[in-house]
């Protein structure tokens, strides 16, 4: 029925694309097709939002009482996130000690999953205060990992990105783990985008592949820290440099809507 390209854009067909899209279950071809329809018809976004409410309700079918200790851990997040002000009080450690214990020294390469939780917490704490500290913290973590493992795996990369626009002091750090199909990113001083636009993180490989590693937006303070998953098999050669562009969420053929904002190229 909807597998042939000769179909009409009837409502049944659109509904099939909508439900497949909201479940993130479409093939790449169907996804691209649907996004082009969305670009042409913004009312589809409204329909997607309505389906999103149904999606939210489905979660009720698996509602389970959370363990009591989880509530305590969550309520302690503000305390754990509180940092001493390092500039005002330089006699104290600038940041908490890196989570060394999460490293598995016997493995031949870094285990992203094992270090990610600790790094995420550390990054989230640090990025809220001073980006220099984020850089320092990552450097310290990398040093710890290097000491533990001998050296970083060939499949792990760290990139420093700077703004490509005059007058901007935006900075970013990206940590790439090809084997785990993940990147971790921390950004500061990058203004939040209006609805309909997103920052796009791109990786460029040695064999000239361009990979979309993820899309994000910054908060009111111009910050963003998170892990992004990259589709398995997206790339199989070393990442040479990374860029962040500002683009519409719905892909546009208008090149003026794609603006390079940051790059790791010197």
């Amino acid at each position: 029925m909807s597998d042939t390209p000769s179909h009409n854009l009837n409502d049944e067909y659109l509904e099939e694309l909508l439900t497949g899209y909201i479940l993130n279950a479409l093939s790449c071809a169907d996804k691209v097709k649907f996004e082009s329809y969305m670009e042409a018809d913004p009312t589809l976004i409204k329909r997607l939002e309505e389906l999103q409410e149904v999606m939210g309700l489905i979660a009720h079918s698996s509602q389970t009482p959370a363990p009591p200790q989880l509530r305590e851990k969550v309520l302690n997040i503000p305390q754990r996130s509180a940092l001493p002000m390092p500039i005002a009080t330089p006699q104290y450690p600038i940041v908490p000690a890196p989570p060394v214990s999460v490293v598995q020294p016997k493995r031949s390469r870094l285990s992203w999953q094992k270090v990610a939780a600790g790094m995420a917490a550390a990054l989230a704490v640090v990025v809220g205060t001073n980006f220099f500290l984020l850089d320092q913290q990552l450097t310290k973590i990398e040093a710890e990992l290097t000491a533990a493992e001998g050296n970083l795996s060939e499949e792990d990369y760290t990139f420093d990105l700077k703004s490509s626009q005059m007058g901007s002091n935006a900075v970013a750090k990206v940590y790439v783990d090809i084997d785990e199909n993940m990147v971790m990113i921390g950004v500061q001083n990058l203004p939040p985008l209006p609805p309909g636009e997103a920052y796009h993180l791109w990786g460029f490989t040695a064999d000239q592949q361009k990979i979309l590693c993820g899309r994000f937006n910054t908060d009111r303070a111009g910050q963003f820290v998170d892990r992004l998953s990259v589709p398995p098999g997206s790339y199989d050669s070393p990442v040479k440099f990374m860029r962040i562009s500002r683009e519409p969420i719905v892909p546009s053929s208008d090149p003026t809507k794609r603006v390079l904002v940051m790059t790791s190229e010197s």
Binding site: E49, V54, I58
Partner: protein, 196 residues
């Protein structure tokens, strides 16, 4: 889109305590009380969803904690786009599926979906906990034809693509697409009173 869906403890009558917008404002202004309200309203729901997808209590607990940390440090919720509950479920589901894919990246789709045969096991106490919304949703899902429900659950909780589901169920791809359409249509109708 709704911008004032009520936040109330699940299992209690729906009482408008605070709007999504107000809760977001409190969260962004770093008021710890916002975290408590958020957790008491959605903690069980978030944990249950993560547990169903990951099938591991410790991993589900870690993930929910991680999501709350994200909300506290840089909440990106936009109340004009979706209800807070939908946003949270989207966040939990996508992160859980990310973890699942990462964990099982070398396994075939068939192996990935193997733990979906039944919801995560519950203790008698857990099984006894229910509320009107959960009952309504469970009933709506139970009313779907088995193949439609199975296809939906494989996508929602297992992160399988339409193609993978078609292979697993041994049906044409177009059939899976229509399963999605029909199941959403029925759910939307059955749950219309819950969609604000």
């Amino acid at each position: 889109m709704n911008t004032s869906s009520p936040v109330a403890n699940l299992g209690t009558p729906v009482v408008k305590l605070i709007s999504d917008r107000e809760l977001l404002d409190r969260l962004q202004s770093k008021q710890p009380d916002a975290l408590r309200q958020l957790y008491d309203s959605y903690g069980d729901l978030m944990f249950g969803l993560a547990l169903r997808i990951l099938g591991d209590r410790q991993e589900a607990e870690d993930l929910v904690q991680d999501v709350f940390l994200t909300l506290w440090t840089h909440c990106t919720y936009d109340p004009t786009r979706a209800s807070l509950k939908s946003f949270l479920m989207l966040l939990v589901r996508s992160r859980s599926l990310d973890r699942l894919r990462s964990r099982n990246s070398r396994l075939a789709a068939d192996e990935r979906s193997h733990h979906l045969a039944s919801p995560a096991s519950q203790t008698p106490l857990e099984a006894a906990v229910s509320d009107d919304v959960s009952n309504q949703v469970q009933q709506a899902l139970a009313d779907l034809p088995p193949t439609q429900r199975q296809a939906l659950e494989l996508a929602y909780f297992g992160g399988l693509t339409q193609q993978e589901i078609a292979q697993k169920l041994g049906v044409p791809l177009g059939t899976v697409k229509s399963y999605f359409r029909l199941s959403f249509s029925k759910l939307r109708q059955a749950l219309s009173s819950l969609i604000l």
